[in-house]
Amino acid sequence: MTYFIKKYFKIFEIVFLFLLSLIPLLWFKTGQIVIGLDSGYAVDYLKYFDQRIFTWFASHNFGVDFSAEVGVLPFNSGVPAVVSMLSVPMLDVQKFVFVFWFFLILISMYTFVNYVFPDISKWSVRISACIIYGLNLHLYSFWLQGEQTILSSYVILPLFTLFVLRFAQNKARVIDTAIYLNLVYLFFGSGGVRGVPLIGPVILTSITIFFYYFYIQFKDEGFSYLKRFIFLTFVFLPIFFLLEAYYIFPFLASFSHEFYNQVTIAGGIDGAIAWAKFISTHTSMLNIFRLHGDNNWYDKPFLWAWSYLTNPLLIIGGFLLPILAITAPIFSKSKKEKTIILFFALLLVVGMVMSTGAHEPFGIFYTYLMKFIPGFATFRSAWYKFMPTVIFSSAILIGFSIYYLSNRWKPKYGWIFSTSAIFILLAYHYVYFTSDNFVYNKPFSTMVKIPQYVYEFSDYQKSRTDDYRTLVVPHSNLGFTIKAFDWGYYGAYPIYPLITDNGFVLYDSYLFNDSENALVASLYQNLREGDFESFKKGAEISHIKYILVAKDVAHDYNFAPTELPGYYEKILADDQHFKTVWSAGKWRIYEIQNFDESPKIDSLNTLASDNSDYSSIDSLFSISDSSFVFRDQVDHEVYNKLPINSVFNQLTCVTCTLNSQVDKPSIQFSRINPGSLLYSHKLSKDNALLHRNVTPDDLLGLSLKRVGEIVAVKEVIKEPRSSRESIDALESAITYWNKLRSIVESENTNYALMQKVSKYLDLEIEQLGDIYTVGYTRDNPNLHAVLVELLSDLKKTKQITDNIISENDWDATFIYDVVRGNEVTRDIYVNVNSLPRNSENNPIYPIQYQEDNDSVKEVMASGNKLLALKENTRNLKLIFDELPNLAQLESRSLELLDKNESCLYTHIPNYLWNKKYQISTVTKNTSLSKSIYIKREYNLLKTQEFNPMNTDYFNPDLIFLPSKTTGQSNTYQFTGQPNDRGAEIYFCTDIGEDPKEVFDSIKINEIVEPKVFTYQSSIINNIALPSVNFKKINPSHYVAIVKGARDPYILNFKEAYSPNWQASVNNIKIDNHFRINGYANSWLINKKGDYEVEIKFYTQSMFYKGLKITIVTLVVILAYMLVKAFRNKYGKHK
C-alpha cells in the first residue's frame, strides 16, 4: 500500500488540483453568463468567432481595423467557439472554459514546482505553491471577468520560466529550449501583439534568471554563458517569427495605423504616465508585500476586497504570506535549495519594484523607464502587468517555508501541519468559494442573465437579408463611453457586435477619425432637432437604414448619464418618416422611410468639396445632396482629378468666442520674489525674452508673474531690498503692458485676444488695486509712483479692450472672416438649424448686414440664401434683432435647507441638454440677498457606489451669486446633462421681499452661433456612370462587377476608410484611393469597358500567408520532436 501511495502520489496531487479547478462551477448561477467589462465573451460565440477570423471587423460602426487583434483570436473567441461547436449548451460553454483555464494555470505551476522540488516528501511545496498561484487575489479580479488573455499569461509564466531556467542551469540544449519556449508562447502567448504587456512577468523573470545565473557562475564559465544566451536568442527569434507569423504579418502591415490608434487611446507618453500614476494609487510596498494594491479595491465597502482591508484576521493573514515568503531564505540549507530560493527571493524584490509602478518611493524609476525606453509605456498598468511575478515568486517561497516548518515536526505532525497550512491558505482565499462577487456596482455586474428579447433580436438579425447598418439611440455618454443597461451589462465595448455580425453605429471611442465623429454626431443632432431631411441624407451616405431604440439603457446612471430613450421614441413615432419593423421587450427597430436604397458599393460621377472643418457637415447637408470630400483629406494631386461639381465653405465666426465664458487666470506664486538673492537673475532672464519674438501670451504670462511676486511680498515690501527689486518688477510690468497695448491697438479685430487680455487686466487691476488701497507702498515714494503708473497703464489698456468688446451686443451680432478659404463665390447661405428660434420655435433671420466698414444694409433672405457679397470683402457682420427672451417669470417661494426665499422662476421652453443658455440680470437693490438657482429635471439611478439624495427641501444644481452693486450687470452661462428632462431657473431673495425689486432686466436666451457658408455648384455634363453590382466574399473581400464604363468615375465603397483597403482590376492595383463622406473608401477609376474590381483588406491576405507559415513551422517542429523522440528510444534500446 505504502509503495502504491509513493509510486502514484503525484497522480493524487494532480487529481487534487483538478478538483480545485472545478471551483468556477460554484460561481455560475442558473441562466447567467459572464459578459461586459474586459471579459471579451459574446452572446453568440460562433457568430462572433466568424467575425473575428477577419482582420476587418465590420459590425462595429463603419468597421474597425483588427489587424493587431489577430493574436487574441484563439483566446477571446476561439476557446468558447470550439466548446460551442462541441454542442455544449450556450449557457454551459463558459463553465467549460473557466474550468479549462483554471486547471491549466494549476498544472503549469505544478509542472514548474515539480521540476524544482521533485521529491515526494516535498508535496507541501508543490500544493501550497499551486494554491497561492492559482487562487490569489490579483487573479481573482480577472476571474470575475473571465479575462482569458490574463488567464493565459498565468499559464505561460511557470512554463516559460521552466525552460529558461533549465537552459541557464545548462540542462537543455539551445535548439530544444528555443523550440519549447516558442511552443509555449504559441499556445499561451496572451493575445499576440495586444498581449505584449501581459507577458511583462515572463520578460522580467527571464531577465532575472539570466543575470542571476550569469553572476553566480561567471567565475567558472566566463563569457561562454553569455554566448549560449546570445545563441539561444538567435535561434529563438527566427522560430518565433515563423511560428507567430499568423498575427505578426497583419500587425506589421498595419503598424503605422495601429500605432496612431494606440497613441491616441493612451493620450501619448504623458497620458500613459498619468494613467500609470492613477493605477499606482494604492501600490505601496505595504500593499504589494501582502499581494494587494488593485486600484479598484479601495474606498468601496460593498466590494469583496473590502473584507481583506478591514477584517483583522484577514489583515494578519495578508501579512503572514510575506512573512512566510521571507523566511524561506533563512530556512534553505542545501546548495540546491539555497540557489533556487535566493533566485526567487531576488525575483520577488524585482517584481515588487516593477509592480509599484509610479507609486513612491520607486515611482521615479518607473516613469523614467516609460519616458526614455521606447515601447515601455505599453506597461502603463504596472500593478496588473507585473504582479504575477511577485505572486509566482511568493508562491514558491511560501511553499518552501511551509514544507520546512512541517519538517521540524515528527512526520505525523508534519502532515497535520502541512494540511492545516494548506487549509488556512484556502480559507484565506475564501472569496473563491463564494458566488456573489461578480457584481461590479449593483445593478451592474459581469455575470448577468441576458434578457429574452436580446436572443430574439439575435434571431431577427440572422433573418435579415440586406446589409444596411443600424443607428443605436440613445446617444452614449460623450465624456465616458461606457455602455450600461438596466439588466446589468456594463462595458466600454458595445453589446451589438457580440450578438450579431450586422453593422451597428453608435458614438464611441472606436471612431478614431474626427470626420467620422462629426458625421455620427450630425446624425444624432439632426434626429434630435427633428430635421428629417438632413438626417436622411446623413443616414443614406452612412448606409444606415434602421434605428434601434434601446429603452433598457441605464440612462440615469450618475457616472455616465445618457439621453432619455423616450425622447427619441417621440420623434420616431412619426409614421411619415419611420416605421417599426421589429420589436421585443425593451428594444424596437425602426426603418427610415423613403430611403434611397443604394448598394454598399456604387459608382458616382460628381462630388461636393467641403473646404471647411469637419463640424460643417450639418450645414453641408442643409444644401447639398451629393457625396462629398473634405478638401484636407484628399491628396492634392488626386483632388485635382476629381469631378467636383460644388464647393462648400463654412465661414469662421470671429466674435463667437465672446459668447463663451473664458476661464479666469489666477495668480501663480513663486519661491523667488523681490528681496530674494536670486531675484535679479530671474528678472533679467525673463526680460531677456523681450528681445526675441515674444507672443501676447508670453507677455500676459510675464505680467502676471510680476504681479504675483508683488502680491507675495506686499507685507515686507517696505524693506530696502524688497522695495528696490519691487520697483524693478513693476517697471518690467509697465514695459510688458506697453508692448501689449500696441498689439491690442493693432489687432483690434482679434476678439479672442481682447477677451483674454481683458481677463488678465481684471485680475491684475484687482490685485494691485488692493495693494494701493491698503497703502503698502505709501512710505516709499518711488515705489508708490511706479505702482500708480502701472495701474494707470492697465486701466488705459482696459478701456481699449472694453470699448472693442462692448461695441456690440454679441449675442445678436456676429462677425465672420470671409477671406479664409473663400475664393469661389460671393453668395452667402445660412444653416437654418443654427439660427436662433422664436417662441414658436421658428428660425429668426438676421435683419441687417455690414461688409467691412461699409454702411449697414438690409438682409433680404430667400430660403437659406442670405445675401451676395461685394468683391474683396474681408469681414461680414450679421445683425439680428434682439433675441427673444425665454424667461416667462412667475412668483414662487422656495424652502431651502436653512432658509426660505421668495423667487421669480421660469421654465426654459424647448430646452435641450446640449444647448448653451445665458442668463443675464441687472442688480437693483444692494441690501437684500440675491441668488440665482438652476434646477435641472432628472433622476439618478441608485447603485452600490451612489445613493441619490432625496431631500424634502429645494436643492439646486447650480448657484450663481449676482453682484451687490446697484446697476451692475450679471451674466452667467450653463448647459445641461444628457439625462435632463427640462430645466428651471430661480431668481431669489429674502422671504417676504419682492424679487422684482432686486433683479432688473432678467433675460434668458440660447447662445447660438449661426453657421454661415458659401456654396457654388455647377453642372458637369456628359459623365456616363457605369452600372455596378457586387459580391461579398467575406467581410474583408468584395468583388464589384462594373459594366459599361466609358468615362472616369468614382467607385464608392461604404466601409470605413483605411489605407489597407485595396482595389485592383486583373491584379493591377488602382491608385487614387481617398476618403469620401468623412468615413468611406473611394477610388477614382479611369478604365473603360466591363470588368471586375477586387476590393480586399490587405492585412487579411497577410493573415492567410502568416497562418500558412505558422502551420508549416508547427508541423516541421512536431516532426523534429517526433524524430528526436524515436532516436532517443532507439538509442536507449541499443
Binding site: A168, I216, L286, F319, P322, I323, K335, V349, P361
Partner: protein
C-alpha cells in the same frame, strides 16, 4: 535545610550579578558602536535645530518626510550591520510592525514597509554575494 534569609540573600546577590552583567553588555555594545551613536545623536540634534530655522524648516520637514524610510533604514543597518540573517530577521520584524500599524490604522505603516523592503533587498543581495561560491553551479556539458 537552608534558611529563608539565606535564600533571599542568595537571590539578591544573583540578581546583582545579572544586573552588572547586563550593564556591562549594554556599555560594551554602546562603546563598540559609539560612532553610530554619535551619528544618531547628530541627526536628532540637527533635526531639532533645522526645524527651528524659518523657511528652511518647510523644505526640511517635507524632505525628511519623503526620505524618512531611508533614514530609518540607514539607522537599522548602522546598528545591525550587513549580516543577512539579521537583516532577514529585521525584515520579519518590520513586517510584523507594519501589520500592527495597519491594525492600528497608523499612517506610519507605509514608511515602515518601505524600510522593510530596503532591508529585504539588502539581505537578499548580501546573501547572494556572500554565498556566491556556495551556490549551485550549472551543470557542465560537453
Amino acid at each position: 535545610m537552608v534558611s529563608i534569609n539565606k535564600r533571599i540573600k542568595k537571590t539578591i546577590n544573583k540578581n546583582k550579578e545579572i544586573d552588572l552583567y547586563l550593564f556591562s553588555k549594554i556599555y560594551k555594545f554602546l562603546f563598540n558602536n559609539r560612532y553610530k551613536v554619535y551619528a544618531i545623536l547628530f541627526l536628532v540634534v540637527f533635526n531639532n535645530v533645522a526645524s527651528k530655522i524659518p523657511y528652511f524648516n518647510l523644505f526640511f520637514s517635507d524632505f525628511f518626510k519623503s526620505i524618512g524610510f531611508l533614514i530609518i533604514y540607514m539607522l537599522v543597518v548602522f546598528i545591525i550591520g550587513f549580516e543577512p540573517r539579521r537583516l532577514y530577521l529585521a525584515t520579519l520584524l518590520g513586517l510584523s510592525a507594519s501589520c500592527i500599524l495597519v491594525l492600528l490604522n497608523s499612517s506610519h505603516a507605509e514608511e515602515i514597509a518601505n524600510t522593510t523592503f530596503l532591508l529585504l533587498i539588502t539581505a537578499i543581495i548580501i546573501d547572494i554575494i556572500k554565498n556566491k561560491n556556495v551556490l549551485q553551479k550549472p551543470e557542465k556539458k560537453n
